[in-house]
């Protein structure tokens, strides 16, 4: 038995058989040429198999992630149907290359050709051709990527890296949990795991060495951040108890899915969701979110070699907006830099990335990228008029006025081009820097709404890097300074008559919820997997109760004293409810 402590990346517990996910090895250097005829026949078979595979996958993808994602796949069938490309491959085979080498060389040269064209939209085809190359080689070399869809019941998928694309392809019902060697709480994969409700422990160094051979069982506690390889009977018993508690909790939450959010007084409250993809937007819709409070668009830009263009963004934003025709969808403009690297932008490393060249600072300097995003958003807003734009990391009034001027220019251009757009779109800001908190009354004159980003706000107010595990005790939104900042922003928003929402992780914390209600927050926005628990929590609080709790802790001097008091009150209320 081996117990490993690592990052609690997605809550929940699971026990199962280990299924190892490995990136396929596509090194064909050692393969032997089997003659022209045979190699060409192999190529033909591979192309046929490719078309069948993609047709199936496209149908599945359309059902899971929408038409746009499926079209990317069917486009690959058109590409492989290019007789010129096949002829080139056959010519190389004629010169003594294996089918693998021919496929690799020809697709790579096409990929480079597309990567260098001026048209932004065409440039994106490079990524598709890279994908096509990988699939064709896998078929030729009979390299089986672990057939994710056929993973059996009670499995725990373990891998060096588990990218979001892999996690979305898993048969969720059969998966107990996930473990990965690399990645952290905010990695793309972790966000997807939380969205799908799969427990994940990541950052488990040395994991793959432990499980290289034979059959293993593993316990994964994504709430605590713990994995136990080859657990003994005691550990399993303890696990079963924990799993029971977790399951009970989950099933008691089921009744809070897909219904309206109402507080203890019976007053309707707005509870929206934070997402970064169409797949998550679907989950949020299913759980009954009142629209999207934060669409993190940077995830459209990560994990790829070229930037998404206006058209691609337009389609994604439109698809998400169409899921919520009667509520708001707040799209945050590109928030890159800091911990989010974008290979396609090739930004230089900085000594202090969180205090560096990122988010709105980067966008205002790169108006070509920023305009294409603004145009895509303005166009997507035309259909339902339900989209709002939100700027990240604002520290000064000029940032809002500059962005607004650029937005105005985009609107004028779109009108001239006769493209439908939403001229009345609202432009708001994230309040996540101390500067924005202190200037809230001034910023409120230019911003149509505020959204509090507690993750960054906490680290900036407390000067404590949120990724530094030695500072974990400092980095709390319950620090009195952070609570005061949150209350001030909300009060300022009320005074200036602009709505204030909160879209940080803290909004899902049962101890924070009554405080936010008391401060007068207009809208909660949490991850799709937290919607039900937050809805339940809100339903238990009457405004007078929340107010008196907020008054009790208002002058508490330390994080410790605030949390201790909130915890005690909440525990007592739970006990009372259980008795009742």
């Amino acid at each position: 038995m081996e117990k490993i402590k690592a990052v609690a990346a997605s809550p929940g517990v699971g026990l199962g058989r280990v299924v190892v996910y490995v990136e396929p090895d596509l090194n064909f250097g050692g393969l032997v040429y089997s003659g022209r005829e045979k190699e060409i026949a192999r190529l033909e078979l591979a192309v046929t198999a490719f078309k069948e595979q993609i047709t199936l996958l496209a149908a599945e993808t359309e059902a899971k992630a929408g038409k746009q994602q499926a079209a990317i796949l069917t486009g690959q069938i058109a590409m492989i149907s290019d007789p010129f490309m096949i002829t080139q491959m056959e010519e190389l085979i004629g010169q003594g290359r294996t089918a693998e080498a021919a496929v690799s060389e020809v697709t790579t040269s096409f990929k480079e050709m597309f990567a260098n064209v001026e048209d932004e939209k065409m440039r994106q085809r490079a990524t598709d051709i890279g994908d096509l190359r990988k699939r064709l080689l896998m078929i030729l070399m009979e390299v089986k990527e672990l057939d994710l869809a056929s993973i059996g019941p009670d499995s725990v998928v373990v891998g060096e890296d588990l990218p979001a694309s892999v996690i979305t392809s898993l048969p969720t019902a059969n998966i107990q949990a996930l473990v990965s060697e690399i990645g952290g709480y905010t990695s793309h994969g972790a966000i997807m795991a939380r969205a799908l409700g799969l427990p994940l422990v990541s950052g488990v160094t040395g994991l793959m060495k432990l499980i290289t051979t034979g059959d293993h069982e593993i316990i994964v506690d994504g709430t605590k951040g713990e994995a136990i390889v080859d657990p003994d009977e005691n550990a399993k018993t303890e696990y079963r108890l924990r799993r029971e508690a977790w399951r009970e909790e989950q099933s008691s939450l089921k009744v809070f899915l897909g219904r309206q959010t109402v507080d203890g007084d019976g007053v309707r409250r707005t509870l929206s969701s934070n997402i970064s993809s169409f797949a998550e937007a679907k989950l949020a819709q299913g759980a009954g979110a009142d629209g999207i409070g934060l669409f993190r668009t940077e995830f459209l830009f990560l994990d790829r070699e070229t930037l998404p263009g206006e058209e691609e963004q337009f389609r994604v934003y439109s698809e998400v907006a169409s899921l919520f025709p009667n509520s708001e969808v707040v799209i945050r403009t590109l928030d890159v830099g800091g911990d989010k690297e974008v290979p396609a932008l090739d930004l230089p490393k900085e000594d202090n990335p969180f205090l560096g060249y990122r988010a709105i600072r980067f966008c205002l300097d790169h108006t070509e990228i920023f305009s294409s995003q603004l145009r895509a958003i303005l166009r997507a807003g035309a259909e339902h008029g339900n989209i709002k734009i939100m700027l990240p990391l604002v520290t000064s009034l000029e940032e809002i006025t500059s962005a607004r001027a650029l937005m105005k220019q985009c609107l004028d251009d779109l009108k001239r081009e006769n493209l439908p757009c939403d001229p009345a779109i609202q432009l708001g800001i994230m309040v996540e820097t101390p500067a924005a908190v202190l200037l809230a009354d001034i910023l409120a004159k230019e911003a149509d709404f505020f959204s509090i980003g507690t993750n960054d706000l906490t680290q900036y107010i407390l000067a404590a890097d949120r990724g530094n595990s030695k500072l974990g005790h400092l980095n709390s939104p319950f620090h009195p300074a952070v609570l005061r900042a949150i209350e001030n922003i909300i009060k300022t928003g009320r005074k200036r008559s602009i709505p204030v929402s909160l879209c940080g992780e803290a909004g899902a914390d049962p101890m924070m919820i009554p405080l936010l209600m008391a401060y007068g927050l207009d809208k909660f926005s949490v991850s799709p997997s937290s919607l039900a628990s937050v809805r339940r929590e809100i339903s238990t609080w009457r405004l007078t109760e929340a107010n008196s709790l907020a008054n009790e802790v208002r002058d508490f001097p330390t994080t410790g004293s605030v949390k201790a008091h909130l915890l005690q009150v909440i525990e007592n209320r739970r006990k009372l409810r259980t008795i009742a």
């Binding site: 058109a78 149907s81 010129f84 597309f114 065409m122």
Partner: protein, 88 residues
């Protein structure tokens, strides 16, 4: 050899589906078909080359067809750039 100057009328440029339709129709013809645009020439019997040429509405192009089926090929090319196959 036939040479024609045509203007691309395809509403949103050359797309994958219409390119695939064109190339399928050109494939059985005994003729080389070249599109010259912006100083580059591309083989029109290739979906990928057609797309990578980034042809947009309003671009002026030179189409060259050569071989026994050149007239038929030219007819298809003219239809293509009129946007006829965009609808199919």
């Amino acid at each position: 050899m036939l040479t024609e100057n045509v203007t691309a009328l395809n509403e949103t440029g050359v797309h994958m589906r219409p390119a695939q339709i064109l190339v399928t129709k050109l494939a059985p013809l005994d003729a080389t078909v070249t599109v010259k645009h912006d100083g580059k020439s591309v083989n029109a019997k290739s979906i990928m080359m057609l797309m990578a040429a980034c042809i947009k509405k309003g671009h002026d192009l030179e189409v060259v067809c050569e071989g026994p089926d050149e007239a038929k090929a030219m007819g298809l090319m003219e239809d293509f750039f009129k946007g006829v196959m965009d609808e199919e």
